[in-house]
């Protein structure tokens, strides 16, 4: 059969039921194969939208997603989603078209060195040189994308090779001698970690996106309950532990809660699970958790001791390790009363420094209020995607996520334009779930063309634009650190978002009154089909609390 038909067989064998893509000259053979392959294809309006949609699908379902683009500009438009998936460890296989092999290296029409351009942004990449190898390479791509620390894999397919007739046989064995991720945690290290936890007087669990990737939420909850430990999550980990909760301290890091940041600052033992001590978490590294010893559980050995030296490193799958750790911990029968003082201190912080803002007395909508209203209108039971900026931080702060895979955002790369396509991808993956996107008036315009994809395919996402007329986060930094010299942050010339939605065949609504906001949002959520809701909020509001860049957590402001 043609190599492209073999691609379809491989996709089916991998359980792929939907792909996101955009055709062009170099991947036309693949699109011919889609014609009767029986695999659902969502035609996006820009390759970047397709890449982010795939990430949204993968983050919501936990399955490997697939995005396609043609050669040259099709592939370069995928570079941002590829790096985004790399930074957030998202399993996506990217299939790019490439020019004919006889044109390679000649600056042919729509030729780009896709493998070269994406090399620093991928978990792995392969250009097909022998079409007979295609099935094996594809299955290896899926395996690499999903196993170990998940990530993006690019398979670049020259158009002439994709038409070649190859003998297709289902691939049953993979040959990857250089790739053997460790999944079982070292038993001795796990015992040591249990002992350290049993001896700790000021322990904190610090969970990241790796817990979500490992589907280890239940095990994380069990350990946290077993030891009555205080727990905080990173931006990527939100939902891994249900919020709100008696043991929940709120988010950690630059815009995390004071309770979480102070607890880390004073902790004597920090158990980091699937987290990587990013600069947005640690603040000034030399003053990060100065009294703590670190247990670091991660599937990627290179993350251990990269930023913060680990006293007890455990490499492996979080689900596997946490379930062993809880058994070891219980067997030590630690004295629960040793944490009483610590909880008193933590409770004191929580009581004294709750997340707060000054509400309005008229109908004006504070952005924080908007998120609280959205949480109420959706009963905290939606998959929420976001773009990047103030609205992202406020959503992370004020929307309590009860489960993992409910909060989908671009954490590592911080990609504006991620939210809408990610929402449509999540909705395609989880059609029975309510999916909302919180965006900003800046971010939404970076991939607004995907409203057409939603309308065209009847993808029922509700987009709430937190419209403050500014690139709010940059404006906040200019206010705080650049002497209020507002440079290029006023979003003059914003379109009429209601009309924009209508032009795309979606429903557009504008909300300006705080007093009816929850009910208006409920009405928007009940409106069938894709809906854009333009919510007008206070223009100059800041995200607090905040660890100023380069400062220590204990010096949080606001």
């Amino acid at each position: 059969m043609r190599a492209v038909d073999a691609i379809m067989e491989c996709l089916k064998a991998e359980g792929v039921d939907v792909v996101f893509g955009y055709p062009g000259g170099a991947n036309m053979p693949t699109y011919d194969a889609f014609y009767d392959a029986g695999i659902k294809h969502i035609l996006v309006r820009h390759e970047a939208g397709g890449g982010h949609a795939a990430a949204g699908y993968a983050k919501a379902t936990g399955k490997v997603a697939v995005a396609l683009g043609t050669s040259g500009p099709g592939a370069t438009n995928l570079v941002t989603p590829i790096l985004d998936a790399m930074m957030d460890s998202v399993p996506v296989v990217f299939l790019t078209g490439q020019v004919r092999t006889d044109l390679l290296g000649t600056d042919g029409f729509q030729e780009a060195d896709t493998i070269g351009i994406t090399m620093p942004a991928v978990k792995h990449s392969v250009m097909i040189t022998d079409p007979a190898e295609l099935p094996r390479v594809l299955h290896e791509a899926f395996y690499i994308a999903r196993s170990g620390r998940p990530g993006p894999v690019v398979v670049d397919i020259p158009t002439d090779l994709s038409k070649v007739d190859i003998p297709y046989e289902p691939v049953t064995d993979l040959h990857l001698p250089g790739y053997q991720p460790t999944t079982e945690g070292n038993a001795k290290q796990v015992r040591q970690a249990a002992k350290a936890l049993a001896a700790a007087r000021r322990p904190v669990i610090y969970a990241g996106g790796g817990v979500v990737n490992a589907n280890a939420s239940a095990e994380l909850i069990e350990l946290t309950r077993a030891g009555n430990f205080p727990i905080t999550c990173t931006l990527m980990g939100l939902g891994a532990f249900p919020a709100p909760d008696r043991q929940w301290l709120g988010m950690l890091g630059m815009h995390g809660t004071r309770a979480a940041n102070y607890a880390i600052d004073e902790a004597d033992l920090i158990v980091a699970v699937g987290a990587r001590f990013d600069d947005r978490i640690t603040g000034k590294l030399s003053e990060f958790a100065p009294r703590a010893k670190f247990v670091h559980i991660d599937i990627d050995p290179a993350e251990i001791s990269k930023n913060v030296p680990a006293h007890i490193p455990i490499v492996g799958d979080a689900k596997n390790i946490l379930s062993k750790l809880v058994v070891e911990y219980r067997s030590l029968e630690p004295d629960a009363s040793r944490l009483e003082e610590w909880w008193a201190r933590v409770d004191h912080w929580r009581e004294r420094f709750p997340l707060a803002y000054e509400d309005t007395t008229d109908s004006e909508i504070r952005p924080q209020f908007m998120i609280q209203a959205l949480a109420e209108a959706t009963e905290n039971d939606a998959i929420v995607t976001s773009d990047v900026g103030q609205h992202q931080m406020w959503t992370a702060q004020y929307y309590d996520f009860p489960k993992p895979r409910r909060w989908i955002n671009s954490g590592g790369l911080g990609t504006m334009g991620f939210g809408l396509p990610a929402a449509l991808g999540a909705k395609v993956g989880c059609p029975d779930q309510q999916v909302v996107c919180v965006s900003g008036d800046g971010s939404i315009q970076m991939n607004a063309q995907e409203f057409a994809t939603c309308a065209d395919n009847g993808i029922d996402v509700k987009v709430f634009i937190m419209n403050n007329g500014y690139l709010g986060m940059v404006r906040q930094w200019q206010e705080l650190f650049w002497d209020r010299r507002y440079s290029q942050v006023k979003m003059g010339g914003n379109p009429d978002f209601v009309k924009l939605a209508e032009a795309y065949g979606c429903t557009g609504l504008r909300l300006t009154d705080k007093n009816t906001l929850v009910d208006d949002m409920r009405a928007a959520l009940a409106t069938p089909g894709p809906v854009l809701v333009d919510v007008r909020v206070t223009a100059e509001e800041n995200v607090y609390p905040m660890i100023a860049p380069g400062e220590a957590a204990r010096d949080m402001v606001g």
Partner: protein, 185 residues
């Protein structure tokens, strides 16, 4: 702002965990890789991206044509070797990495020197060459080319000695290294 925490001193143990990251010496990494397109680019790209500085790099075939060997040296005073090897291991085409122990390793480098030498100085240069067990590979009216094999210390010593004669050009291959004893590198 906020409540300052209670200051406590760090334990020695904590500090040692941190100190372990920099070894302070030259390291030779012997890396087996799959012989596939782009592998060297991946390694070089990784070093550039993570800010690791390669001192020397050599690549060549092994006795198995599916596998190549990369030998590279870098400064452990500047780079956390542990982090370098862990990042290298993440490359799918990298099969095995060995951080060679200097005492258990034989390392060699080849260098070619083009030295200004006329009738008067030629004999003196050749004498130095003999002491270093080098080989004269070409002689011209006004220059001489010498081949030296050895550790990089030896090559650097030779360079210092011949430089006053007028060093026209020098080329070095970078080190290759093999472990002593019966076991494979």
């Amino acid at each position: 702002m906020g409540e300052p925490g209670i200051k406590e001193t760090l334990s020695l143990e904590d500090l040692q965990a941190e100190a372990g990251l920099r070894s302070g010496r030259k390291h030779t990494l012997s890396i087996l890789v799959e012989n596939k397109p782009g592998v060297l680019t991946r390694i070089a790209g990784l070093f550039a991206r993570r800010g690791f500085n390669i001192d020397t790099l050599t690549v060549g075939p092994t006795d198995d044509d599916r596998i190549s060997r990369v030998t590279l040296t870098l400064d452990g005073a500047v780079h956390p070797i542990d982090q370098v090897t862990k990042q290298l291991h993440k490359l799918i085409n990298v099969l095995k990495i060995r951080d060679l122990e200097p005492a258990e390793t034989v390392a060699r480098e080849l260098a070619l020197f083009k030295i200004a030498a006329d009738g008067q100085t030629r004999a003196e240069v050749m004498q130095i060459c003999e002491i270093f067990r080098g080989k004269v590979v070409d002689v011209g009216k006004r220059s001489i080319i010498i081949e030296i094999t050895g550790t990089n210390d030896k090559i650097e010593a030779f360079e210092r000695l011949v430089r006053p004669f007028g060093l026209v050009e020098m080329m070095r291959t970078g080190e290759i290294a093999i472990t002593r004893g019966r076991g494979e590198t």
